[in-house]
């Protein structure tokens, strides 16, 4: 059973996207990655609306004070095992909004992050590359575990 589950997870990871205060640039590029030109669905990746169905949390934006609790709540609602991808320089380190009074700066200040995709914004190709790297990481874990 667990074997079947992990096989399914590697073959078809479901993604949930949450903007924690970014400028929208990264979000649009993430959506663009789903559209015909780039088409992440060929890797079995599906964008999901509900955190309870998702395996991967894709975060864009520097975490703002208001949004932090929501982010944690969404993370807690996701079933184990779960992974976090930080998309864009904002989510990686908080720049260019570093030192703004309302910003924590970087998703890793509040959540453990598995893959960082820098760029402002990263191109859809880079986002796909990052997610594929995460899939490989999951594969490695599954074969060891």
């Amino acid at each position: 059973m667990t074997k079947a589950l992990s096989w399914a997870r590697v073959k078809s990871p479901w993604l949930i996207h949450f903007n924690t205060g970014g400028c929208n640039g990264c979000d649009i590029e993430l959506v663009a990655a789903l559209t015909p030109r780039f088409d992440v669905e060929r890797f079995g990746i599906l964008l999901e609306g509900s955190p309870r169905h998702a395996d991967i949390l894709a975060v864009t934006g520097p975490v703002t004070l208001q949004v932090k609790d929501r982010l944690l709540r969404i993370y807690e609602q996701m079933p184990e095992p779960k992974y976090v991808v930080a998309i864009g320089t904002c989510a990686v380190s908080g720049a260019p909004f570093k030192d703004c009074y309302n910003v924590y700066g970087g998703v890793d200040k509040v959540l453990p992050v598995d893959v960082y995709i820098p760029g402002c914004p990263p191109k859809p190709e880079a986002i796909i590359d990052g997610i594929v790297k995460l899939i490989q990481k999951i594969k490695g874990e599954e074969s060891r575990g």
């Binding site: 903007n19 205060g21 703002t64 260019p96 909004f97």
Partner: protein, 384 residues
């Protein structure tokens, strides 16, 4: 009466924002928007950075209308400095702004198609949008933050080879767009979901200070490009597109036709671009003074206000983005609609919360409001 929360994490919203709907049966009777999830404190950050650094910050206010924000910012600083961008730079600004409008509107059309459950159309729009994205990338080197504007002009020129490439791309887009307009006007799926939905009457639109395509879809002819021309718009002939329906269908048609208009403007600008420099040298010191600058962003009128005290950093900076102007109108449209229509009406104003969010201090016990200085804010939130 039931209260339904909507967001901040919701599949219909790409950005965190919260709305509370009061619902009677299937009809919305009251709406309470709660903005602020996306507030980063950009205006204060403006005051901490130098004028050159702020260029990059202005760009990152919004990832969809990044060029509109930098245009507005550079115009404000240029007017403080008393310099003017050279003619060629002003034409290049127009070209990039219009290409950005095409990309932003096609993006929105895709989202709108998605909200009415027409995903095939969504993919068509976004596939064609990649053509504009390629043009923008080849001009500027980036797909989202173009970094084209600088104080005193633009940073990159458009070469003759690029001109012919852009024209080819525009021809393709024009043909596609004409087909889509035909389709939007006749397709039953689209008509059933958008005709007569989310109506905003002309009077209400004016009273509630709606802006941009939302206002123009209610039959009001208002466009900063025509009313208060900036860059090279005073030298370029174009029409302000309006529709009288006031519903979501009109908003769709206004944006579709604006894309055609933008294609024409870009063509004209490419043909009539004067030769010459693309930027002028500007003095480093910004004299004291204050100024307001306006730009027609893809979503409507964008206002920047700058106050300088003669130092290397602005003393006060203020951004009024178009979405904020549209929120009261949005609440009006939502009242009386069906629950199932909420996503498309919400999406109908083309909301961009990233540029809009702001905050205020309120003491919940007695309702007092006040203003804090930067030091107080930092002490409170960062413990330093």
């Amino acid at each position: 009466m039931i209260k339904v929360p909507f967001g901040p994490q919701h599949p219909a919203l790409k950005e965190p924002e919260n709305f509370t709907f009061e619902i009677d049966g299937d009809i919305v009777v009251a709406v309470k928007p709660r903005i602020g999830y996306n507030h980063r404190g950009i205006e204060k950050a403006f005051e901490q950075r130098t004028y050159i650094q702020n260029l990059y910050l202005a760009e990152r206010i919004c990832g969809i209308c990044s060029d509109a924000h930098t245009t507005c910012y550079t115009q404000a600083v240029e007017s403080l400095l008393g310099v003017e961008a050279p003619p060629r730079a002003r034409y290049i600004r127009v070209i990039v702004a219009e290409l950005e409008r095409i990309h932003s509107h096609s993006l929105w059309l895709g989202i709108a198609a998605h909200e009415i459950g027409f995903d095939t159309l969504f993919f068509y729009y976004w596939r064609d949008r990649e053509v504009v994205m390629d043009l923008l990338e080849s001009i500027s080197g980036n797909r989202v933050h173009y970094a084209m504007n600088t104080i005193g002009g633009v940073r990159r020129d458009i070469s003759p080879e690029k001109v012919s490439m852009i024209k080819k791309g525009l021809d393709f887009l024009e043909e596609r767009m004409k087909r889509y307009i035909e389709m939007m006007k006749t397709d039953q799926t689209v008509l059933k979901r958008t005709e007569g939905v989310g109506v905003l009457k002309r009077r209400d639109a004016i009273d509630l200070c709606a802006v941009g395509p939302t206002l123009r879809a209610s039959g009001v002819k208002n466009d900063v490009r025509a009313d208060d021309p900036y860059a090279a718009y005073d030298e370029i002939p174009f029409n302000v597109v309006t529709h009288d329906g006031g519903d979501v269908l009109s908003r769709i048609l206004v944006r579709c036709e604006e894309i055609l208009e933008s294609i024409e403007i870009t063509r004209y600008a490419l043909d009539h671009m004067p030769e010459g420099m693309t930027r002028v040298r500007v003095p480093m010191a910004v004299p004291p003074g204050e100024t307001v600058s306006r730009v027609e962003a893809p979503r409507g009128e964008l206002i920047h206000y700058a106050k300088s005290n003669g130092t290397a950093r602005p003393e006060r900076y203020k951004v009024r983005s178009p979405t904020l102007g549209n929120i009261p109108a949005l609440c009006k449209m939502l009242i009386g609609c069906h629950v199932a229509d909420i996503p498309i009406i919400l999406a109908g104003i083309d909301p961009c919360f990233a540029c809009m969010d702001r905050m205020t201090f309120i003491d919940l016990r007695n309702g007092d409001e006040w203003v804090w200085t930067m030091q107080e804010l930092r002490r409170r939130y960062r413990n330093d």
